[in-house]
């Protein structure tokens, strides 16, 4: 039983250490996910947290400026101006109309300062319409039903 007791103590020390490390890592990297419409109604402290926001890039809004890229994200009729200040080049999929996920903080002027931008081409995984006349991509059906 003595060995068992020692093992339990050893395990407790290890687990406690890991919990502390996990908590430190958590506070360093926790990121809140918000929608654009939520941003305006956030309470004071929540405004300054690190967060992720997603939306579609408004067509024609991408402006390459010195040291940053400005664009506007849209979702459900609301919009959010974003400045990307990160060092990495923007992903190839980042273009007008693309679905983008930005990570960073909200500036005091309401402009979102993004350190990271991920983007995916919104139409990629849908069937391409218009290849055959009268064909609508939404109308897929099980074989045998048609």
């Amino acid at each position: 039983m003595r060995a068992r007791g020692k093992f339990v103590v050893g395990s407790a020390i290890i687990v406690a250490t890991l919990l502390v490390l996990a908590y430190v890592g958590y506070t360093q990297s926790k990121t809140y996910y918000h929608t654009i419409s939520e941003l305006s109604s956030l309470p004071g402290p929540a405004m300054h947290q690190r967060m992720r926001v997603s939306g579609n890039v408004r067509a024609g809004s991408i402006a390459h400026l010195d040291g940053r890229v400005d664009f506007v994200l849209e979702e459900e009729g609301k919009s959010l101006p974003v400045s990307y200040t990160g060092r990495d080049p923007l992903p190839d999929t980042f273009k007008d109309g693309a679905q983008a996920l930005v990570e960073g903080r909200l500036g005091p002027d309401g402009r979102f300062v993004a350190e990271q931008v991920q983007a995916k081409c919104a139409s990629k995984y849908e069937a391409t319409p218009g290849a055959a006349p009268g064909n609508s991509p939404g109308a897929t059906t099980h074989p045998g039903q048609s």
Partner: protein, 690 residues
């Protein structure tokens, strides 16, 4: 043809249901003919799913874009092997692929054991077909790959429409590893079903003896090896294709594939406690159960979009099915364990803290902690939304903070554990076995420190890595010397002989050595550098000992993509060394652009160069160069791990000369029929016996 494919799938589903129901009836009524019939039905599922897969491949290769799945994931100009691989590039095809691999495993598990374990196999067959029923349900009724495109004509009648060309395979998937990475990873995910089936079957049937634990261990090694290979190939793919200079980002889908690998690793270690000492039986059974559940969870995370991931799959409603299936598995496992918990009573207790047993216990504790931390971090957005209503995600700092110390502690145990004796180890034995390797490790650390390397974790990793390597080589040396002296052979062939006589032990050491190489490679990350610069022809940039001179940029085009290519001359310490040609491609069918990284890899470092395209502000070409030390060690270590696993699965070679009768051989290696203890006698010290 699409009807042929969907009927094959439907028939496979019906047969799986029959195998399940008839199997249960056969167990209850003990009718041998019905048992055989259920088993044959289980094996026939494989044939039918194979037909369905072949049908879908036929559609891909004949460019038949009347199927929604084919037109969404292929196009005429796509090279042949990508058409083949396009099968598993989307939701429906991936799930079909899962079913096919599972049915392949099930076929072999049933076929290889058709004349063995008559009390156990009916249960195994029932469990395997239970899992098959779930996936075939998805294939048939939820996400069928055989949906046809249809359109209405002027009168409103529906007609099958056939597109002239498909929208193409995602360019990120157009890389040779696309053909091999998903199959390997899925072979891992599906493979854990077999040990699960055997473990649950043994518990349900209260199968006497420890035979089932040997079978379970062997199948776990197969799945574990595939899973590990799949993870490494995925990391290599990310490294070579995505162009961000790294290979692991703690992305949810990556994490999901790591989880069953971790618990599988824990099982492969703790199973020895059961074989040698009759301990940890409940723990082992649950490890197998949990590993399987994590495989299902991993498939769900990959396929359902529950947690957002760079593996940007469309969100789908398929998650609910998986949650339901997981709940059923858990209930079945729990009930089976509760009803038969006396069957799993432990034979022994822990005797000392400095013993092989306790090193295994710590190994399992730490692996489970890693698994829990990764799982928690991955699902944190889901949990936090339930509890607080806010979706909170955690990033790489969380995972690294927890997992780096865990990895280093594991590395320490890798060196210490195998040399500790069962039950209790004396202080003298500790000193004899560890003084040398420890001194070697510290010396290596001191030298690197003197050369100016200060990163704490990287230094620790080096010290422990050298320590573990020395303990492993010392083991081979001690064993081989005895054989060499006795047989008069040289040390190298003696080491080979030693390995073949106890493949499991020495194969295990080879796996450990491969893991050391991987860890050293990962530690190299601490010294990564990168630089990004606009680089017109004639301009150059410097990184580490390299200077990159831009020569020119030209255009290449074919049916599949058009590309802008940079021609860069690389100077190493002032001397012209090589040419690199990174590209920036635009794929025509999907209109998606993608980079082709140029990597010059050497054992010491990778020079990794990305042509990032033209800067939108100035229209000048931008080159991003990374210098990543030791990355090659990771891939090489992976190969060593595979070789070691292969070795450990070989049967032991019996020696011509038996030094001592195999009095205690019965408890080890029942499957392979070897008797390690006979030939280990010369190499035995107080330190270790297997």
């Amino acid at each position: 043809m699409d009807i042929f494919g969907s009927f094959a799938l439907l028939l496979a589903f019906i047969l799986a249901v029959y195998a399940f129901v008839a199997g249960i009836v056969a167990i209850v009524t003990r009718r041998p003919l019905l048992t055989k019939s259920a088993r044959n039905a289980g094996m026939a599922v494989f044939v039918l799913v194979t037909l369905a897969v072949a049908t879908l491949e036929y559609f891909f290769f004949t460019n038949n874009f009347s199927l929604a799945y084919v037109s969404a994931h292929s196009n005429s100009a796509l090279p042949g092997f990508y058409k083949f691989a396009a099968l598993w590039s989307g939701q429906e095809g991936s799930l079909l692929w899962w079913s096919w691999l599972l049915s392949t495993y099930a076929f072999w598990a049933l076929f290889l054991n058709r004349k063995k374990h008559p009390e156990l196999m009916p249960y195994v067959g029932v469990i395997l077909s239970g899992v098959q029923i779930f996936f075939l349900t998805l294939n048939n009724f939820v996400a069928t790959p055989f949906k046809v495109l249809a359109g209405a004509d002027a009168s409103g009648a529906m007609h099958i429409a056939r597109l002239s060309d498909g929208s193409g395979l995602n360019p990120l998937l157009q890389y040779p590893e696309m053909v091999i990475h998903p199959p390997m990873l899925y072979l891992g995910y599906t493979g854990f079903t077999v040990p699960f089936a055997f473990a649950l079957a043994a518990l349900l049937g209260r199968y006497p003896g420890e035979k089932w634990i040997h079978i379970t261990r062997r199948w776990t090694m197969v799945a574990w090896c595939f899973q590990g290979v799949g993870i490494l190939l995925g990391a290599h793919w990310a490294y070579a294709v995505l162009g961000w200079g790294g290979y692991w980002a703690w992305d949810p889908v990556e994490n999901a594939s790591l989880l069953p690998w971790i618990t599988g690793t824990a099982f492969l270690h703790s199973v020895m406690m059961q074989e040698k000492r009759g301990m940890m039986k409940v723990w082992n059974v649950w490890l197998v159960f949990v590993t399987f559940m994590l495989c299902i969870l991993g498939t769900m995370l990959t396929r359902s979009g529950v947690v957002s991931s760079v593996h940007a799959f469309a969100e789908s409603s398929i998650g609910g099915w998986f949650v339901g299936f997981l709940a059923i598995i858990f209930l079945v496992c729990f009930a089976a364990w509760w009803k038969n918990r006396d069957y799993l009573r432990s034979d022994n207790q822990l005797d000392s803290l400095v013993s092989r047993e306790s090193s295994f216990l710590f190994n399992n504790l730490i692996l489970l902690a890693a698994c829990f931390a990764v799982l928690w971090g991955t699902l944190f957005p889901v949990f936090s939304e339930w509890v607080t209503g806010n979706k909170i995600s955690v990033g790489p700092p969380f995972f690294n903070k927890v997992n780096i110390p865990i990895a280093l502690f594991l590395l320490l145990l890798t060196g210490v554990g195998p040399l500790l004796a069962w039950r209790k180890t004396s202080y003298d034995a500790l000193k004899r076995n560890f003084a040398g390797p420890l001194a070697g490790g510290i010396a290596a650390g001191a030298v690197t420190f003197a050369f100016g390397f200060r990163d704490f974790y990287a230094l620790m990793c080096l010290i422990l890595g050298v320590f573990v390597t020395l303990t492993i080589f010392a083991e081979f040396y001690r064993g081989a010397r005895v054989i060499a002296q006795r047989d008069g052979t040289n040390m190298l062939s003696a080491a080979g002989e030693l390995t073949m006589r106890n493949t499991r032990r020495y194969g295990g050491y080879v796996v450990h050595f491969g893991m050391v190489l991987i860890f050293i490679g990962i530690a190299g990350q601490a010294f990564n550098q990168d630089i990004q610069k606009e680089l017109n022809p004639g301009q150059s940039l410097a990184i580490g000992p390299y200077t990159i001179l831009s020569q020119n940029y030209d255009d290449i085009a074919n049916d599949n993509y058009q590309s802008e290519r940079a021609t860069l001359e690389v100077f190493y310490k002032g001397k012209s060394d090589m040419m690199l040609y990174p590209e920036h491609r635009l794929y025509l069918a999907s209109q998606v652009s993608s980079t082709m990284v140029a990597i010059e890899s050497s054992p010491l470092r990778d020079l990794y160069v990305v042509y990032a395209g033209r800067s939108p502000d100035t229209n000048q070409p931008v080159v991003h160069a990374y210098l990543n030390p030791l990355v090659k060690w990771i891939w090489f270590g992976g190969i060593v791990v595979i070789l070691g696993t292969g070795l450990a699965m070989l049967p032991n070679r019996r020696a011509a000369l038996v030094l001592r009768p195999a009095a205690e051989g019965s408890w080890a290696e029942g499957v392979s029929g070897g008797h390690p203890s006979t030939l280990q006698a010369p190499a035995r010290r107080s330190g270790a016996d297997d």
